[in-house]
Symmetry: C3
Subunit: 207 residues, 3 copies
């Protein structure tokens, strides 16, 4: 007899793993910025989680290419996998830049942005299980709205960071470094928003 169920649910499993992995990565970013010691090892931890994410994306695409009937539209699976990847890519880039720029210690807005990203990926973990048809539309909407709010909050934090970077007689090299890092961190919350929108779109389409 045909057994299509296992083949179908594997995508939900993979997405839940990818979301949990993205959240673990943002937690590592928060710790990286809070402690700001033992940078080599802490950066390594972020990089490792980014590689786990790459492998999960790769497995998702491989399975997609081998699966004839998918529980949600093929292009949505492709899109969602890619967008979750984008979050990890931004976090990895931010950590990378802090290491290679040899910054002395992070400006406080970097930590604030990390916390926004962390809360966003926590919400994404709660939303991703709704792909299985769990939860009410209202429960989904609340989370989407909260991810949007966090993105606005990140905008304001970036705003404050730029004001204080340019205040007084700024050191151009310091400005170049932190302007870059802050922009990368802020863009991570945009990527979280993209993921939330994609999940919302899939759930609504399949409702």
């Amino acid at each position: 007899m045909f057994n299509v169920i296992p083949r179908e649910t594997v995508f939900f499993d993979l997405f839940e793993k990818a979301a949990a992995n993205a959240h673990a990565c943002t937690e590592s970013l928060v710790v990286f910025l809070d402690r700001f010691d033992d940078l080599g090892n802490r950066a390594h931890r972020v990089k490792d989680l980014e590689h786990v994410g790459d492998e999960l994306t790769h497995e998702t695409i491989e399975r997609l290419n081998k699966t004839f009937i998918t529980p949600i539209d093929r292009e949505d699976i492709h899109e969602l996998a890619g967008r979750i990847d984008d979050i990890l890519d931004r976090i990895d880039t931010a950590v990378d830049r802090m290491c290679l720029f040899k910054v002395e210690r992070p400006i406080k807005e970097a930590g604030e942005l990390a916390r926004c990203i962390e809360r966003s990926t926590a919400l994404i973990c709660e939303m991703i299980v709704m792909l299985r048809g769990r939860g009410t539309p209202e429960e989904l909407r609340i989370r989407v709205r909260e991810v949007h709010r966090l993105e606005s909050e990140a905008d304001e934090i970036e705003h404050r960071a730029l004001v204080s970077l340019f205040e007084g007689t700024p050191d151009p090299i310091h400005v170049i470094k932190w302007k870059n890092i802050i922009e990368v961190l802020e863009s991570a919350t945009d990527k979280c928003e993209d993921v939330a929108n994609v999940i919302e779109g899939i759930v609504l389409k399949n409702a």
Copy 2:
């Protein structure tokens, strides 16, 4: 009896409002740069129009989710709403940066770019009514081509701005600020080009 017409035309109404609002926003940008006084209030005006745009996008998506039969493809409605939003986002960011960087007065290329964006959104207003089947393919093509030309013109203006920013013994902080603002303004004309392309695509598809 069924009355599907009102439900259908509402999307055209919303897009026309969104295009007119985008144009009003670019007009405010031109005034902001030309006068460069009373910055708080003038920036507020831009921000207000950006919020009106957000609400129009939101209303469009909400209606899309509740509408079974749409006059144009669902993904095109989604795409067009998002792309118009992008124009406003770029204008808002440019104004924001000028305020928070506390620039003394705008370099002349900023005003030139604002005028390119303004002319592009004026053309978008003329194109958007063609979604209703009005106008000839030639009238559409002329406007698409003109939006492309304005984008090339913006490229050249950005080019000139960068040359003059780096001329002589440049002040790095001045360069960082204006390079950023000019790039954001130039990208607004890219976003106008995207909108023109989406409209052209929809009209051709439904011709």
Copy 3:
């Protein structure tokens, strides 16, 4: 009698021309950076090839709008044409910036990145003929993987470039210029990766 074949294969011809043109453009970039003399003429050569690319894209879209039955999905034709364009756009921007910033001579990582891009477009030329159904899935996969590897290599080169730019007591204006140019060159390898992914997607879909 109906003759649909010529109409169909024209897209393959156009894509092969566009890929060959992109490769010629990256070769000109390599020469531009290696020789770094006669900049006006060498930059002109890159700009000319970019225009050829624009015309090929334009011709592809025009034909698409006039063709009822296409050998591959319409949106894939659109996507592929646009993504190849993006590579040329990045190369043109990089050359443009080097000219207008009046840089004295290129940092060595610029040439290394150019060579990554050149090897990627060579692989894209080999992959693009596979749209005609030539080659095995394994031959395709090897090339996709190599393009991905070149993108990682470009990441590392960018990394090294940034480290050396910020080393010692950096000149902020020098940093601003080269950070910008290096980022643009690195993004060209991302665009090559996008093209490789699109080609792979089309081949797999039509396998």
